[in-house]
């Protein structure tokens, strides 16, 4: 277990690992995204209440799920960078925030588009959408903080502290937004109720969630590889690796 952590911390090993992982992940992720989208768009039956507009669920929910999980991954990388001073964890932190922000953005915009035919408005201050918006702000905060420092090591450590503080706060924020919503809107419209989802819709949804996790891993690895190419462009191992 520890030997893997040590290897992960070594930039040359990680560069090779990233190259191999990207070569595998790229075709798999693209294929899964295409298959999942076709399944969700063309094959799955429409929802009996929402008709065809519900098909947005196959990108909205996976993006939201992975965006939230991504914050925890970022905080874990932050903890590793603070406690064990692993260099690759610093690089991971910088790569994770923009990817998480992009996925949160997808979740927000698709949610808003979905809202138009469902609620009749582009934006509704629903508990889930509001929490998602705050998650987006948390990601933007980490990105802004990492840009503000000239010193990269200090930037990574500052982002690590901020993302850990955010992690402690996220459950409180989600719970408080839930209460806020029920306080102002006593359970009148609820589309995300407990109604069991049919397997004909569940399987494409699960496939898309997996595809989005893969997409998350892929784009983080791509960004980390770019970051390594920039940071170690003077060093011998990278030059040997490239040529």
């Amino acid at each position: 277990m520890w030997s893997i952590v040590h290897k992960m911390g070594s930039p040359p090993w990680f560069y090779r690992f990233a190259n191999r992982a990207i070569a595998w992940l790229l075709p798999i992720v693209l294929l899964a995204l295409v298959v999942g989208s076709i399944w969700g768009l063309l094959i799955a039956p429409p929802d009996y209440r929402q008709g065809n507009s519900y098909r947005i669920i196959f990108i909205h929910v996976p993006a939201a799920v992975v965006a939230l999980a991504g914050y925890y991954v970022m905080a874990t990388a932050g903890l590793m960078s603070l406690v064990w001073k692993i260099k690759m964890a610093d690089t991971a932190m910088r790569a994770l925030a923009p990817v998480g922000a992009a996925l949160t953005f997808i979740a927000l915009v698709t949610g808003s588009i979905w809202g138009k035919p469902t609620w009749g408005a582009w934006w509704v201050w629903d508990a889930r959408i509001t929490s998602m918006l705050i998650l987006f702000f948390l990601y933007l905060g980490v990105m802004a903080l990492s840009e503000a420092f000239d010193n990269k090591a200090a930037a990574a450590k500052a982002c690590a502290v901020l993302s850990l503080v955010g992690t402690v706060n996220i459950p409180i924020i989600y719970k408080s937004v839930d209460w806020w919503y029920s306080l102002h809107q006593p359970a009148s419209i609820k589309f995300t109720g407990e109604s069991a989802i049919d397997t004909s819709m569940l399987y494409p949804l699960l496939l898309m969630i997996l595809a989005f996790y893969g997409l998350f891993a892929l784009s983080v690895l791509l960004r980390m590889r770019t970051e390594l190419l920039l940071t170690y462009r003077q060093s011998a191992w990278l030059n040997a690796e490239v040529s």
């Binding site: 450590k157 502290v161 901020l162 409180i172 937004v177």
Partner: protein, 227 residues
């Protein structure tokens, strides 16, 4: 010869309070800011007393949050600039505690003073009288949470030249629960319900913050000193 921890912290508190009291403008300024922004709402929303009364918990809490954000940018600033912070970081006494002393002094002079004068502003917005004690206590507890959040953000941005906007960007998402619990408490009280559970939640946030925030603040200050 370094004094014992208790004496050391008392000296720190004395230093912060004296420095702040020497410049009373820094304490009165945010209150005037509060008054001015509260004045803007009737001008923007219209003078209807019923509308203002209904919106007053939200207005007062949002303005309190903003003015707390504005002042928390000053936290640690002078200590960072004159090198005191470096001394505190090097001293054998924990930096987390000496930083917390500054946060508490800051809260006493900004948050508590705001909570004490808040009934005046609530009166301007026609808030029902029975909600005033709840407004004061919710602001007292809530501004402590806001000061702690602001202190975490300030500890990370104190070394940066353009820290002001960044500080708000980092703090605002974290202040959401405080705002929700605070306005809920005042709203419930204004409507004649029991606000105790919301005040208890605010108290829990403040207590949890007092336990966890010092670690984040100390870590943030050390990073800022190294950068």
């Amino acid at each position: 010869m370094l004094p014992e921890l208790g004496t050391f912290l008392r000296f720190q508190a004395q230093r912060h309070l004296q420095a702040a009291l020497r410049r009373p403008g820094d304490i009165v300024g945010p209150l005037i800011f509060f008054l001015m922004v509260v004045t803007l709402f009737p001008l923007g929303l219209g003078p209807d007393p019923a509308v203002l009364a209904a919106l007053s918990p939200g207005i007062l809490w949002v303005v309190a949050l903003l003015s707390s954000l504005v002042v928390s940018g000053r936290l640690f600033q002078s200590d960072y600039e004159d090198g005191t912070l470096e001394q505190l970081a090097l001293s054998p006494h924990p930096l987390a505690l000496s930083a917390m002393v500054e946060v508490f002094c800051h809260w006493l002079l900004s948050g508590m003073s705001l909570a004490l004068v808040s009934p005046v502003f609530a009166g301007l917005l026609n808030m029902p009288t029975q909600a005033m004690p709840v407004l004061m206590s919710s602001l007292a507890l809530g501004t402590l949470c806001l000061s702690l959040i602001g202190a975490v953000a300030a500890s990370l941005t104190v070394a940066l030249r353009r820290g002001g906007v960044l500080l708000s960007l980092l703090s605002i998402p974290l202040t959401v629960p405080v705002l929700i619990f605070g306005t809920a408490a005042v709203r419930e009280a204004a409507l004649g319900y029991d606000p105790t559970s919301w005040l208890a939640l605010l108290g829990a946030l403040a207590a949890g913050g007092c336990v966890l925030a010092p670690f984040a603040i100390a870590a943030g200050l050390r990073i800022s000193l190294e950068a």
